[in-house]
Every structure is written in structure tokens, then in C-alpha cells.
């Protein structure tokens, strides 16, 4: 398949580890499958990839294989989906993935100045992760919060709006 096993993935292979879901995860997989017609298991690919990413932090080759196995869908179909959508991490990421919108309204309102400040403060460029594994900095497309631009999201779970340099400093210093 077209994906390179990442360093962590290779380590796991060397150690002879095969990834597995917990019993709770397995129950979750069954719940996910139940949402779709019985002969449409492929519809579960995206939600189970989300589950695997939540469990293993990123989608290594093993996590993608586990996803395919757990819903009984051919591996190439799962790999094709994992590599198409930008929110699936195929490489290890930091604890906090900072997704900074730099499209249209955010750009007009100063997002790239804020982004440059973040690069300077964290000492990394767009797409990179800090050496301590804490932050991954990403420039992303519109996050539908244009009225409170500039804005960023952290791991799709928390968002901060109307950003300036001071707000970013407070935000980053507050993330432990």
C-alpha cells in the first residue's frame, strides 16, 4: 500500500506488537457498524479511522490494518480513505495540534501575522512538531469562524477566536 510505515510503526513491528482495540473500542465498532445497512460496512471506515486515531494518536500502517480488520473491509479501501482526508494524521503529531485558519477572512484580519508569531514563539515552521512533542503547528483552510477572525482550533476539540499575539501567548503558555 502507498503508505510508509512510520518510525513508531516500525518499532512496533520490531517489537512484534500488533495493535488491538480494547473491549470498549470493539463495542464502539459494533455500534458504528449498526448505523449503516448490513451490506454497507465501508461506511464505517471513516468513523473507525477516527476511533483508531483517537486511540493510537496517529494512523500508522498497523492502525489502518486494524481498522480494516475490525470492520472486515479490504485494506486498500481503508488506506485510500485514510490518505484522502487531511484530518487523518499519517505521521506522529504533538499532544496539541494547533490548526490555524489562514483563509480569506482570517487572512484579511491578520491570521498570517499571528501565525508568524507562533512560528517564532514555538521555533517551528508550518507542519512541524516541537522537539518535546508538545505542539504541532498547522496552517489550515477555513474553519467556519470568519466572524471572529483570526482563529485557531486545538485537536478539533477547542477553539480560540479573535486572536492576536498576546492572546496566542496566553493560550500557548496555558497548555501544559
Amino acid at each position: 500500500m502507498g503508505l510508509n510505515a512510520t518510525k513508531v510503526g516500525l518499532d512496533l513491528i520490531r517489537l512484534g506488537h500488533e495493535l488491538s482495540f480494547t473491549p470498549e473500542d470493539k463495542a464502539r465498532v459494533q455500534q458504528i457498524l449498526a448505523r449503516y445497512p448490513a451490506d454497507r460496512r465501508a461506511s464505517a471506515i471513516m468513523p473507525v479511522l477516527w476511533l483508531a486515531q483517537e486511540r493510537f494518536e496517529f494512523l500508522s500502517e498497523e492502525a489502518i490494518e486494524l481498522t480494516a480488520r475490525s470492520i472486515d473491509v479490504p485494506l486498500p479501501e481503508v488506506a485510500a480513505v485514510a490518505s484522502f482526508y487531511t484530518m487523518y494524521h499519517l505521521e506522529p503529531v504533538g499532544k496539541y495540534v494547533l490548526q490555524v485558519c489562514c483563509t480569506l477572512s482570517c487572512s484579511i484580519m491578520g491570521a498570517e501575522r499571528v501565525f508568524a508569531h507562533m512560528e517564532q514563539k514555538l521555533g517551528i515552521k508550518a507542519g512541524e512538531t516541537t522537539p518535546d512533542g508538545k505542539f504541532t503547528l498547522k496552517k489550515v483552510e477555513c474553519l467556519a469562524s470568519c466572524g471572529s477572525a483570526p482563529m485557531l482550533q486545538i485537536n478539533e476539540r477547542k477553539f480560540d477566536e479573535n486572536l492576536d499575539e498576546a492572546a496566542v501567548d496566553r493560550l500557548l503558555d496555558g497548555l501544559k
Binding site: 473491509v73 482526508y85 489562514c102 484580519m109 467556519a144
Partner: protein, 445 residues
């Protein structure tokens, strides 16, 4: 014109606790339409006729008659039918569905129930953009509440009508806002568009009859069903009935979502609703319907915000993402920003869009960096023209239309870039200059 900001969808949008079913029922007469229609066993076709008569048009961008769309579902098909909610709000400049779902999830769910009943569907899927993962608990809670109250699930209100509603989370792909790409994504494939026809109403999800509706469209359904078509038509114009949410962004005093009667002058949206531009800013252009529509000039501020008038002015109501652009923004820079977006989001299925957006970005980057030629401006326009109407889905048009309009309206800025090898003016670059200098100084050490 009197300024009534409490119309319909946003009448009680900031009511505390609106995410809960009790507050929704009290503030919006919530689920009364479901009780009346399903409880009263109103014929599904009557609901379709009512929505058709109301003049409601799809609020996602296309503006197609919602009732007509529903009526295309074959009446005699033995296959299961599906309702799919397009909650993949990703059009730059648009943030209305986000507020509707996060604050008032039950109105959308009630719309889902009514629409599903009208097309005789027993399963509905809400396709939520992946970046809205934080909203999953809000929506799951609302679905669970609706189920517990007997409005969703098996045997709704004891009538024998069953409907299950599921959430499906996307994972970052603008193209999935296109309804056939969304359906492919929901089926577990890469988000690439399908050839039409067959339209989804005939062969949609799992090759079964399917209606795909935008969040705002579905939110308008319960009040229409409850109060009637004529009541809804008290707002808007003859052909653009009702109210529409406009997401206002850019350097205005009060950015945000505003619900306005269709036909409201653009000037009123800017001045009366959004408070005008911030002090010290001068208006240069207006992008009235999301990043993919052509720009308007300040001289066109008296354009009425309805589908026909905005089209006559050379642009589109689109999704209602209204971006006000001030004169410190370089239009070449803005064209490059928007083009990078579409180049990144092009799914790669068809050649005009995949290769065209690549070359658009390539040429715009050269012009932006002072390496372009005058003939390249025409070449860029020509490439846009080869994408427009010739790509597989509307994403290609969305990439081409804004850049063509920027060249038409602001050609002097493109020519200035070529001649002087710099922007006429560019706040963004001026703000970035200190960071560049610091980086350069650091590399010297």
C-alpha cells in the same frame, strides 16, 4: 426600513439552554410541526406541496427549490429512501450552520424529521464536517432527547412511522460539501463527485433515492410547516421568499451572522446590521456569497440581497458568506489566497480543475512575487475560462469565478504587480515584514 433582527431562525438564538429540548419547545414552538404532521398523519405529499408553495430555496449555495428537490424522489421506488444533511459547512466566509447547530440543534433535527417523513425515509444521516468534532456531543445529546421524547426512533408518536438519525463525521475535505462527493464519502470512499444524472433523488446514497439538504434549509422547514407558505412569504421577494442568514466578516464593527429578509439592500447589511466598516477602513470590494462568488464593488452596495438581484449585479447569494474587503488588501494577494485554497481542495478527479488550479496558483505566485508578465494576466484569465463550466463539479467554477472577477474589476492591481514588481498596498505583507527581517537576521548570525 425598520430593523427587525429577530425574524425566524434567529428569533431566540441566544436563549440560554436552547440546546435542550424543553427550551427549544418553549422558545420556538418546537416539535409542534412534527406533532401536527406525523401525529395527525398528514399525507407526505401535502408537506412537499406546502414546502414547494413556500418558495423555500436551498440555502447551501445552489438556491434550488427545496420542495421541487423533494418531489423528484420517485413515488413508486421499492428501494429505501434516505435523507442526508449537508452539515459540511466549509465555504470560506460562511459560518451560519455552525451557529445554528451549536446553539439550536433541535430545529435542524425537527427539520430532518419533517423532511424524512415527506420523502418517506426511515434513515437520516447528518454529515458533519470533521473540524466540527467539538459539536458531536451537542448533536448526539439533541438526537437522544428527541428520541426519548418520542419524536425520533421506532413508532414515532405511536403512529408506526420509524426514523433513525445518525451522525457521520467527515475528516477535512471541502469537496464533500458537493452533494455527490458527500454521498461517496458517506459510503466510505474518497470524496470525489459523481456524474449527474442520475441525480441523488433517483440514485443517491447506496444507489437509493436520497435528498441532500443544507442545515439552514432544514431549519426553515418546521416554522414553514407550522405557519404555512403564505406566512413564510411575508419575507423576501416574489422569487426569493423568506429569510436568509448572512455571515458577515472582514473589518466591520460587528461581524457575525444576521438573519435578513431576502431582498434587503447590501448597504443595510453592512451599515445597519454590521455597524459599517471599522473606523479608518475604506471599502474596496464585497464578496457576497462565500469565497467562490465574483466580487462586487462599493458602487453596487444598493444591490438587493436576493438570488435574482445579486445575479443581475454579476455575483451570487451563494451560501451567504459576505466578506467585506478593505482597500489595504491587495487583490492579487487575495486571489492567491483563494486559489491556494481551491488548489488544495481540488479532489484531483478531473483534469480542468486539478491541472487548472495548479497553473492558476503557479501564475499568481509569479505575479505576486514580481516575476510575472502582462501576458500572464490574460493567460491566467484564459485558464480560468478553461475550468469554468468544463470541470466535473462546481468546485472548478468556484475556483475560476472569483479570480476572473478580480482580474476584471481590479486589473490595474495585477498590472501594477507586473510593472512595479510589488503590491500597490498590502497590509498583510507589511505586517509580516518584521518577522522576515528577524528570520534574515537570525540566519546571518
Amino acid at each position: 426600513m425598520s430593523l427587525n433582527k429577530k425574524l425566524l431562525l434567529f428569533a431566540h438564538i441566544d436563549e440560554p439552554g436552547l440546546g435542550g429540548i424543553d427550551v427549544y419547545k418553549r422558545a420556538y414552538d418546537g416539535y409542534k410541526a412534527v406533532e401536527r404532521v406525523i401525529g395527525g398523519k398528514v399525507a407526505p405529499n401535502d408537506i412537499i406541496d406546502l414546502v414547494k408553495a413556500s418558495g423555500l430555496r436551498g440555502r447551501g449555495g445552489a438556491g434550488f427549490s427545496t420542495g421541487m428537490k423533494w418531489s423528484f424522489v420517485p413515488k413508486d421506488s421499492p428501494k429505501p429512501r434516505y435523507l442526508v444533511v449537508n452539515a459540511d459547512e466549509s465555504e470560506p466566509g460562511t459560518f451560519k450552520d455552525r451557529e445554528l447547530m451549536a446553539k439550536n440543534p433541535h430545529q435542524m433535527i425537527e427539520g430532518v424529521i419533517l423532511a424524512s417523513y415527506a420523502i418517506k425515509a426511515h434513515a437520516a444521516y447528518i454529515y458533519l464536517r470533521g473540524e466540527f468534532a467539538w459539536m458531536v456531543p451537542i448533536l448526539e445529546n439533541a438526537i437522544a432527547q428527541a428520541k426519548a421524547a418520542g419524536y425520533l426512533g421506532a413508532n414515532i408518536l405511536g403512529t408506526g412511522y420509524d426514523l433513525e438519525c445518525h451522525l457521520h463525521l467527515g475528516a477535512g475535505a471541502y469537496i464533500c460539501g458537493e452533494e455527490t462527493a458527500l454521498l461517496n464519502s458517506l459510503e466510505g470512499q474518497r470524496g470525489t463527485p459523481r456524474l449527474k444524472p442520475p441525480f441523488p433523488a433517483v440514485e443517491g446514497l447506496y444507489a437509493c433515492p436520497t435528498v441532500v439538504n443544507n442545515v439552514e434549509t432544514l431549519c426553515a422547514v418546521p416554522p414553514i410547516v407550522l405557519n404555512g407558505a403564505d406566512w413564510y412569504k411575508q419575507w423576501g421577494t416574489e422569487k426569493s421568499a423568506g429569510t436568509k442568514l448572512f455571515s458577515v466578516s472582514g473589518p466591520v464593527k460587528k461581524p457575525g451572522n444576521y438573519e435578513v429578509p431576502l431582498g434587503l439592500p447590501l448597504r443595510a447589511l453592512l451599515e445597519e446590521y454590521a455597524g459599517g466598516l471599522k473606523d479608518g477602513y475604506t471599502l474596496k470590494a464585497i464578496i457576497p456569497g462565500g469565497s467562490s462568488v465574483p466580487a462586487l464593488l462599493p458602487s453596487q452596495l444598493d444591490t438587493a440581497l436576493d438570488y435574482e438581484s445579486v445575479a443581475a449585479a454579476g455575483s451570487m447569494v451563494g451560501s451567504g458568506g459576505c466578506v467585506f474587503v478593505d482597500d489595504q488588501v491587495c487583490m492579487v494577494d487575495l486571489a492567491l489566497n483563494v486559489t491556494k485554497f481551491y488548489r488544495h481542495e481540488s479532489c484531483g478527479k478531473c483534469t480542468p480543475c486539478r491541472e487548472g488550479t495548479h497553473w492558476m496558483e503557479n501564475i499568481l505566485t509569479q505575479i505576486e512575487h514580481g516575476e510575472g508578465t502582462l501576458s500572464q494576466i490574460d493567460e491566467l484569465y484564459g485558464i480560468c475560462d478553461m475550468i469554468l463550466g468544463k470541470s466535473f463539479c462546481a468546485l472548478g467554477d468556484a475556483a475560476a469565478m472569483p479570480v476572473m472577477s478580480y482580474i476584471k474589476l481590479f486589473r490595474d492591481e495585477f498590472e501594477f504587480h507586473v510593472r512595479e514588481k510589488r503590491c500597490q498596498i498590502n497590509r498583510r505583507k507589511a505586517e509580516l515584514a518584521p518577522f522576515r527581517e528577524a528570520a534574515a537576521a537570525a540566519s546571518q548570525v
